[in-house]
Symmetry: C2
Subunit: 414 residues, 2 copies
């Protein structure tokens, strides 16, 4: 194990202890100073970013677009920090409290997790967005971003760390790994003594690599093979509106719909209009034989399609015999993110809500609502597709844990 | 990866789906039948257990005592099943519900985790106790017990599985690994596709091995290097009562106190009486130089003592200069289980509660209260010393997760 990394772990743990004792007013003041100083230091941040852009000249435009910072993007990050400052602080909340049989007063109190590590790709905005949420929730953060964004990440973190220092706080509440090697990332996944949770952010490959390797607790986010099932009691225009919104509005994100299942009794009637609406928005359709008999312009889907998250203007369609077939298909192929039934039948809606094993299950709404902001959390660190600790959109509350605070007057156990 | 184990994982996942749809009345009926049939099959269970006892003739008495089943122990397991049947079912509870800005009705609903795996030592009662809680909370369980208890575990599970079969339910809700090799245990720790959480139960060695190896989500339980700090405002008799209770009542368990810290201003006055009370109960004392100057019968403590969980009638004592020194010592050496301050000073009590980073933090009560039954949960699967998902005593609620159930009327995202 890398000695430098162990030192970073120790530093983070110490900083987390101090952070856990800060009151909300102080944390909010710091967040607002973060915002102010980022804007004030725009020139030096952009200069550092330019180095990264120059080094990435061989990369595709999509990649450099994510990497690139601008005046406006720095202002957006600053606005994000101010928004987080305005959110309610979960720390100190009492989830529940009671008196036990021996007369002890027991409270379950919200406290920070401690040290949060994040591994992410070459998107420098994550440095600031993640720090806003971890800092507000009283956690120290260790950030390991993509190597192509290292200069940008270090420049951003330098501004934030200077604010901490100027306020007499521990700079190590925010640490960037300078060493972006795979070996060090792997060591970070095994830093059990210091890391309370590791949250990978990025594509499916990154997240699966972390889940497969890490021994520190991981929260798995962002895999979204989302389904919409149109049953025989669906209203056609509602179905079209929801499907188009879920597929087309922002196809690259995890809450976009990827698959359409439709009941055989309405496929002949509704599928042509649904397919046309999607195709009019540039969506390429793939499907099973039954869907292709109805709409010949649908290309054949392979077995692999059913488990693929396209993140693109592609949708695969399957005609099903009944609701149970739809449910079985979804529970088998889904990543457990978000699934929708479109139906006006009470019983069918209830069955779908009960039987689908995903983080978010909908009747008659777009998958695109699976989002911390849309849910009203005011922030989002990611969307958990695992079942432990957090499931679905994660806001500030999901970056906390609890401890039991117990007040007695001399009780001993009988 | 072991093909048989993959099949066990698939079977468990399928059984979990069916279990998740059972209503509480049915689950309670089955739990009561489990109890009845265990007692009715006492003879064959004891015969199987006798084989294990015969095979373990070389093992120490402590080991065979844990392994041995008797009429009474089978009745106790049956009573445990009936108690769990009587507990409130957490499944279906709505933790919170609200309407978002777009008019969606969002509910956060309690659902089973799915498949719970347990690795435990040669204690056949765990087979029944764990099954009671996993079944009641709607989860399928895969049990890998110590190889020395295999015949007993299989006999117990056969009775439970027969009850499931007789009721037309899926027997694979309860599966025992026949193969107790380390290789298969290791494969189980990597069965990410089918295991939603792995809970090791046993000694520190077993738990650390699981935490270090597993890639499935783990809940770490039961490591308890618990501290009591007597400050300068403590009432002497209360201190003695609590310390003796916490150390002596049941020294082998994780919520027993292992360390005593005492403020220098009261050490001279209180330590002799505290030490005598402990020694009168057969406790061997170890300590730092300052404690040994006051009570010469205290043996010297080594550095290793401060991080050791004795699980025995041993206690290590340290004199500290102030509360912060006590807090720093505890946060450094503790396993994060349970810590106590004995004090009548308001400010000191508050500081201790705020600054100690453990699952349970007490003022003026015994560490022995950290227990699902004492907390009023009516059951306990273990005491979590990690921060993710569950922290402190784990009852039925901690064996569940949530899903968001969302009802709309055609909403699409703007």
């Amino acid at each position: 194990m890398n000695e430098k990394l162990i030192q970073i772990g120790k530093n983070a743990k110490q900083a987390a202890y101090k952070l856990s004792l800060l009151d909300t007013i102080t944390k909010n003041q710091i967040l607002n100073q973060f915002a102010e100083k980022l804007v004030a230091n725009t020139d030096q941040i952009l200069a550092a970013n330019q180095k990264d852009i120059d080094n990435a000249s061989d990369m595709p435009a999509k990649f450099t677009d994510r990497l690139k910072l601008t005046d406006q993007r720095i202002k957006d990050m600053a606005a994000g920090l101010q928004q987080v400052a305005a959110l309610q602080d979960p720390i100190g909340n009492i989830d529940k409290g009671w008196q036990n049989d021996a007369g002890l007063l027991i409270e379950k109190k919200r406290v920070p997790l401690g040290v949060i590590a994040m591994i992410f790709e070459a998107r420098p905005n994550v440095t600031v967005d993640a720090t806003a949420l971890t800092f507000k929730s009283g956690n120290a953060v260790i950030l390991r971003g993509g190597k192509e964004a290292l200069n940008s990440n270090l420049a951003l973190a330098a501004v934030l760390r200077a604010v901490l220092k100027d306020n007499g706080l521990d700079e190590n509440a925010i640490q960037i790994l300078h060493d972006t090697s795979h070996e060090t990332a792997n060591d970070l996944m095994h830093l059990n003594k210091y890391v309370d949770v590791l949250i990978p952010r990025g594509g499916a490959g990154l997240i699966q690599a972390v889940v497969k390797n890490a021994t520190v607790p991981v929260i798995e986010t962002g895999a979204g093979n989302c389904h919409i099932y149109v049953d025989q009691f669906a209203e056609e225009q509602m179905a079209i509106n929801i499907i188009v919104n879920a597929k087309v509005q922002r196809p690259s994100v995890c809450n976009a719909a990827e698959k359409l299942l439709i009941h055989r009794d309405v496929a002949k009637k509704m599928l042509p209009a649904i397919a046309k609406a999607l195709q009019d928005h540039g969506v390429q359709l793939r499907g099973d034989d039954r869907s292709r008999e109805i709409v010949p312009s649908i290309k054949p889907a392979s077995d692999e399609d059913w488990s693929t998250e396209y993140n693109d203007l592609i949708m695969a369609i399957k005609v099903v015999d009944n609701e149970q077939a739809a449910i079985d298909h979804i529970n088998n192929y889904s990543t457990g993110h978000s699934e929708v039934i479109i139906s006006n039948n009470y019983q069918n809606g209830q069955e779908f809500l009960n039987k689908i094993d995903s983080a978010c299950v909908y009747v008659n709404a777009s998958t695109r609502f699976t989002d911390g902001f849309e849910f009203g959390f005011g922030a989002e660190i990611g969307i958990s597709t695992q079942k432990l600790h957090a499931r679905g959109p994660m806001g500030l509350n999901e970056l906390t844990t609890t401890k039991y605070v117990i007040r007695g007057n001399g009780q001993t156990r009988k």
